[in-house]
């Protein structure tokens, strides 16, 4: 007998709310993957998210679990406090590259140094989305933004920072990997990494971060598909995908 079965439906960890993200923005994709992982692990009801300042500032409206809003860049500090007071909850931050790698550089680095048992979802879209497309620490060399209209000149504006590589050098980091959201195969790989990053926390194995190369079609003035192609063609070559730190006990995890 042939029946129709549901092979994919909207995750339960989402609220029935539309998002304010621009059409085709992969913030939505990243949210969806987190929601799917929380569903699959059955940990939605004990999850506590920490939202950043940036386009994902309203993330607390979109997830159907507890959420707090941090000051710009301070999400890892807030998550530290929450996790230490409520160790049985699953605590994660969701942060953009302006939030995590610019104003919040000290907080993320010290959370890793302390080996805090939190999960960090880091959205690298190479730009400040919310404020109108200014240069981020992650903006590619030569890339035009509203604050680098002639293209990022590394002589005067410095070089893009590779966060996964940097955090991988810290002993307190248990898991630091980079994935990309530019096509279906890479979206699937991103989800696997997010799953592992949450499993690390569930087993008390320490600090875990997943960096996701993401698109900002609006500020790059691209169509959604062109913006994904930019990620796949330009960003991946500067930010190679891969596992930068996987502690032995994390490697042994069957996920």
């Amino acid at each position: 007998m042939i029946e129709m079965e549901v092979v994919y439906s909207r995750p339960e960890s989402f609220t029935p709310t539309t998002t304010h993200y621009c059409p085709g923005c992969t913030h939505g994709t990243a949210h969806r993957l987190v929601a799917e992982v929380l569903d699959e692990m059955g940990i939605r009801e004990k999850a506590i998210g920490v939202a950043p300042v940036g386009c994902s500032v309203f993330a607390y409206d979109y997830f159907n679990h507890d959420f707090v809003e941090a000051a710009h860049g301070r999400a890892p500090a807030m998550a530290t406090g929450i996790k230490r007071v409520r160790p049985n909850n699953t605590v994660y931050t969701y942060q953009g590259d302006g939030d995590l790698a610019s104003i919040g550089m000290a907080e993320i680095v010290h959370a890793a140094i302390r080996g805090e048992n939190i999960t960090v979802i880091f959205i690298n879209n190479a730009i400040y989305g919310m404020t109108g497309g200014q240069m981020a620490p992650t903006t590619l060399p030569g890339m035009r933004t509203t604050s680098s209209p002639g293209g990022r000149d590394v002589e005067t504006m410095g070089y893009p920072v590779r966060m996964s590589e940097m955090l991988s050098t810290i002993d307190g980091t248990s898991y630091a990997v980079r994935r990309s959201l530019h096509n279906p195969a890479n979206v699937r790989k991103s989800k696997k990494a997010i799953r592992r990053a949450f499993e690390v926390q569930e087993r008390g194995m320490g600090f875990a971060m997943v960096e996701l190369l993401s698109s900002c079609p609006t500020n790059l003035k691209f169509t959604p598909q062109q913006a994904l192609d930019f990620v796949g063609d330009q960003m991946v070559s500067y930010y190679p995908l891969g596992d930068y730190k996987v502690a032995p006990e994390v490697k042994a995890l069957k996920v």
Partner: protein, 78 residues
Amino acid sequence: MALKGTIEVNHKYCKGCSLCVEACPQNVIALDMEHLTPKGYHPAMLIDEGCTGCAICAVVCPDAAITVYRESRKKKTK
């Protein structure tokens, strides 16, 4: 016979971004230029037979707007 699939696009969430249109390996999705969603976008729709229920459209949809169904052969348990 290959199993068939189908999709349902929720107009509340769809923003007409076309990423599912580009990603569908069967080329059976297009934007519906005859309709607008409540937010004012042209929603994605199935335009042809041939959907396999592979769910690739759902994997790329940033707005979790797509539900995917696929035929399954179930043995009667009685």
